[in-house]
């Protein structure tokens, strides 16, 4: 069940909220949490009952490992248990998601041809595995107490973020299951959540999906594209993924607020960044935090003294892993490595205290991000290279033959709004922050829901891009 489906919006979410409110009012202390867990598992199981055992198995296993880790064991044993826990999680992710990719890559180097049966990885596996890796490390470091099974299961499976994040930390979320922690009232937080949710919904179905037609056709094959068309294709994807993913993140955060739970903000106008470092502070922020705390820093420590060189190596390794985390394909690895290279270059730049004018820094950053996304979206490296080749000025500069057949003028106003909104005006988080539950705000929420409804269910794109990860 997607957050932008009629089933979720008209049945699931209202039903969950109504029962949640009733239980908070009339039920015992733990019943609202039990209800949330039941709702989340139903939400997850709706995608396919067969996926549930993977999620439940992972939850129980990590819960048990964390309990073992703190059960009065010595430091060496605790570390040993942590390492087993991390290995189990990484192995779980690798076997389920990457086994065929690794075997295929080995076979490509004239190795043995082995193919495992193809099965689709469980929904959100990358997200719930990373969430639990963070939980284990934090538990080892004493940053949080081990959870009860109910708390842990609810933490991992909570429906607003189980499918595509943001990544959450146990110590920030679990206390909220039993204690409302906002300073405003539940109903006001609910209004704010609904407002943010409706903004996210509009970002996804009105703006992001308007780019989908061009992106799908453009990335299928690049052989006959002009320079202009190649740039239109890549820029379209750059905007599509931003509005798709940030729209999803707004919806997730809005839904969580409606439940009375605060989850991390994941986007902060990333296309206004003036450096790659700045970009990663604004793009998929929860993943960026994970990279910093759980990949980059430990890798840097393991390399000994922190120098510019070791730091660059640590960044490259961390970003390569993050690239691969997105999916079992070399295009994702290249995407990660390119960003690693960009971050390392930015570090050197800052260390040497070099200066660049603001507009040039922004232009270079945006162009770099756009180019890296070519690899992210392309189905194969040759298609990505064809695309990059076409983006370099060539004989056919302004040809529009290929795009004429796929471009729809009906999509143009939505695309234009997206392009402007990515660079100017308030972000959705800022809009939610300045929200007041007035009649006017209700009117805006209504307008956003109705406008979104106009476009829901229409081709070409319905699913969130990051659901695939």
């Amino acid at each position: 069940m997607a957050l932008n489906s009629f089933l979720f919006l008209l049945l699931f979410l209202p039903a969950v909220l109504i029962v949640q409110v009733l239980l908070q009012k009339y039920g015992g202390r733990q019943w609202p949490e039990v209800w949330l867990l039941a709702a989340s598992l139903s939400f997850y199981g709706f995608e396919g009952f067969a996926q549930l055992p993977f999620l439940i198995g992972s939850i129980v296993c990590n819960w048990w490992i964390a309990r073992m880790m703190v059960s009065g064991a010595g430091e060496i044993r605790r570390k040993w248990i942590l390492q087993i826990g991390l290995t189990v999680n990484i192995a779980f992710l690798c076997v389920i998601k990457y086994a065929n990719f690794v075997l295929g890559s080995v076979a490509a180097l004239h190795g043995p041809q082995i193919t495992l049966p193809h099965w689709g990885p469980p929904l959100g596996i990358s997200f719930f595995t990373l969430t639990q890796i963070m939980y284990l490390v934090d538990t080892y470091q004493g940053l949080n107490q081990p959870n009860s099974l109910l708390d842990h299961a609810t933490l991992v499976s909570l429906f607003p973020y189980i499918t595509a994040g943001p990544l959450v930390r146990s110590r920030k979320i679990v206390p909220q299951f039993t204690k409302f922690q906002f300073e405003e009232s539940r109903s006001e937080r609910g209004c704010r959540g609904l407002y943010l949710f409706s903004i996210g919904l509009a970002k996804k179905v009105v703006i992001a999906d308007s780019f989908a037609r061009i992106v799908d056709a453009g990335f299928a094959s690049m052989k006959y594209s002009s320079t202009l068309e190649a740039w239109v294709y890549t820029l379209s994807f750059t905007f599509q993924i931003y509005f798709d993913f940030s729209g999803y993140s707004d919806m997730a955060q809005g839904a969580a607020w409606m439940l009375g739970i605060d989850i991390p903000q994941n986007f902060d106008a990333p296309y206004r960044s003036r450096s790659i470092t700045d970009f990663w502070g604004r793009w998929h922020i929860s993943l960026s935090n994970f990279i910093t705390d759980y990949l980059y820093t430990p890798i840097l420590r393991s390399l000994g003294r922190a120098t510019l060189a070791t730091s660059a190596i640590a960044i490259l390794i961390a970003m390569g892993i993050v690239g691969l985390w997105h999916g079992p394909a070399w295009t994702f690895v290249i995407f990660g490595l390119l960003h690693g290279l960009g971050l390392a270059t930015n570090q050197v730049w800052k260390k040497r205290k070099l200066k660049m004018t603001g507009w040039l820094a922004w232009t270079l950053t945006f162009a770099f991000v756009n180019i890296a996304f070519c690899f992210f979206r392309s189905p194969s490296i040759p298609i990505a290279l064809d695309l990059l080749k076409a983006m370099v000025p060539q004989r056919d500069l302004f040809g529009v033959d290929a795009i004429r057949g796929i471009f729809s003028w009906a999509d143009a106003p939505r695309m234009a709004i997206g392009v402007v909104a990515a660079f100017a005006f308030q972000t959705s988080s800022e809009m939610a922050a300045s929200f007041r539950p007035t009649r006017m705000a209700a009117g805006v929420t209504f307008a956003l829901i109705v406008i979104s409804w106009f476009f829901m269910g229409s081709s070409p794109a319905k699913q969130f891009i990051y659901r695939g990860f």
């Binding site: 903000q265 960026s288 007041r436 009117g443 476009f455």
Partner: protein, 348 residues
């Protein structure tokens, strides 16, 4: 690596006056008013014949045909006419059935744009609902052998339930689009009541739409269109092979028809590729013991029979239905005799 720069609502600054009730009341009021407006429009559209069919696929002609078939309420049919727009427009069932002395029953399940692979799936859905016919007739053109467009999903899990008359709310939850709904509403009534446009869905008793149009009142680009055989998809031949084999194994005769084409169009097409296409179809049908009728050879129609480069108008449909009816009259499946149609023999 930058640490995150989180913007959090400054809760104390934002402690809004306790007007959440006002917000919800206003929002719910607006949504209820909007819902009532929509319900009113739906009732009006339904009464006026403008209500589009259930959104089974993104193609309205398919959805309309599915709605039409659903209304047949599980009757058994001797003949199923299947395929794309050619089978919709080129058959006049009254004329065709008049030629067959055993007076069989027929249903036309064809819909615009269906490729062979999609026709095969769709046919299976229909046969699950109505049981096996004695005969399946399909009118083929090279367009039916292009790669699937992706607009149709004839294997959709909702189809069986829909044809069986079940109410499936999740069909609407999954597929409803207000934009599509409104676009369709504008011309639904016209398409259902007039045969003067290619998009006509004004079905005759059995599901065919003989078009009431002809030169010069035609779309000139469609009139002069020349098919490019480079657009053919090998998978569609395999689908035909599969369909012919499956029908054969179920004791159902398949009759494929090459319809008459315009002389001017024939002169402009790639003759070598056209012949390859026809030979390959003939081979597949022969291999599976099924029947091919080539009306393009035996029925020489002038331009007054056509609505565009390949689709016939009502006059052309009458001629084709008569000729086809005569051939079908002698089919084993429909009579006790076992006579191979004359034109088939000629083709072989």
């Amino acid at each position: 690596m930058a640490s995150s720069k989180q913007i959090r609502p400054s809760v104390t600054a934002l402690a809004a006056p306790a007007s959440a009730g006002t917000y919800f009341q206003t929002l719910i009021g607006l949504l209820v008013a909007f819902g009532m407006l929509c319900a009113g429009l739906l009732i009006y559209a339904n009464r006026d014949g403008e209500l589009p069919p259930a959104p089974l696929t993104a193609e309205v002609s398919f959805n309309e045909k599915a709605q039409f078939i659903r209304s047949m309420d599980g009757r058994n049919f001797d003949i199923i006419a299947a395929g794309s727009s050619l089978a919709v427009n080129d058959l006049t069932s009254d004329v065709l059935l008049e030629e067959i002395p055993s007076h069989p029953s027929l249903i036309n399940i064809a819909a615009f744009g269906l490729r062979v692979s999609e026709t095969r799936l769709w046919l299976n859905h229909v046969m699950r609902r109505f049981g096996n016919p004695k005969l399946v007739v399909t009118i083929l053109s090279p367009q039916d052998f292009q790669a699937e467009s992706g607009w149709y999903e004839p294997a959709d899990p909702f189809l069986d339930g829909y044809l069986a008359g079940k109410f499936q709310p999740s069909l609407y939850f999954d597929n409803f689009s207000l934009v599509t709904f409104m676009n369709l509403s504008w011309h639904m009534k016209q398409d259902r009541t007039s045969r003067r446009a290619y998009s006509s869905l004004d079905f005759d008793r059995d599901g065919g739409v003989p078009l009431d149009m002809g030169f010069p009142n035609v779309d000139i680009s469609r009139w002069n269109y020349v098919f490019h055989y480079s657009m053919m998809d090998d998978g569609q031949y395999k689908a035909l092979d599969r369909m012919a084999g499956e029908l054969k194994s179920n004791g159902i005769s398949l009759v494929c028809v090459f319809p008459p084409t315009r002389r001017a169009g024939r002169a402009r097409e790639n003759a070598v590729e056209a012949e390859k296409y026809r030979s390959r179809v003939a081979e597949i049908l022969k291999k599976n013991g099924q029947t091919l009728i080539n009306l393009d050879i035996t029925l020489d129609l002038d331009d007054s029979h056509f609505a565009d480069y390949i689709h016939l108008n009502a006059r052309g449909a009458q001629a084709v239905s008569q000729a086809l009816g005569r051939d079908l009259a002698s089919m084993t499946a429909l009579t006790t005799n076992s006579v191979v149609p004359r034109r088939l023999e000629e083709h072989r």
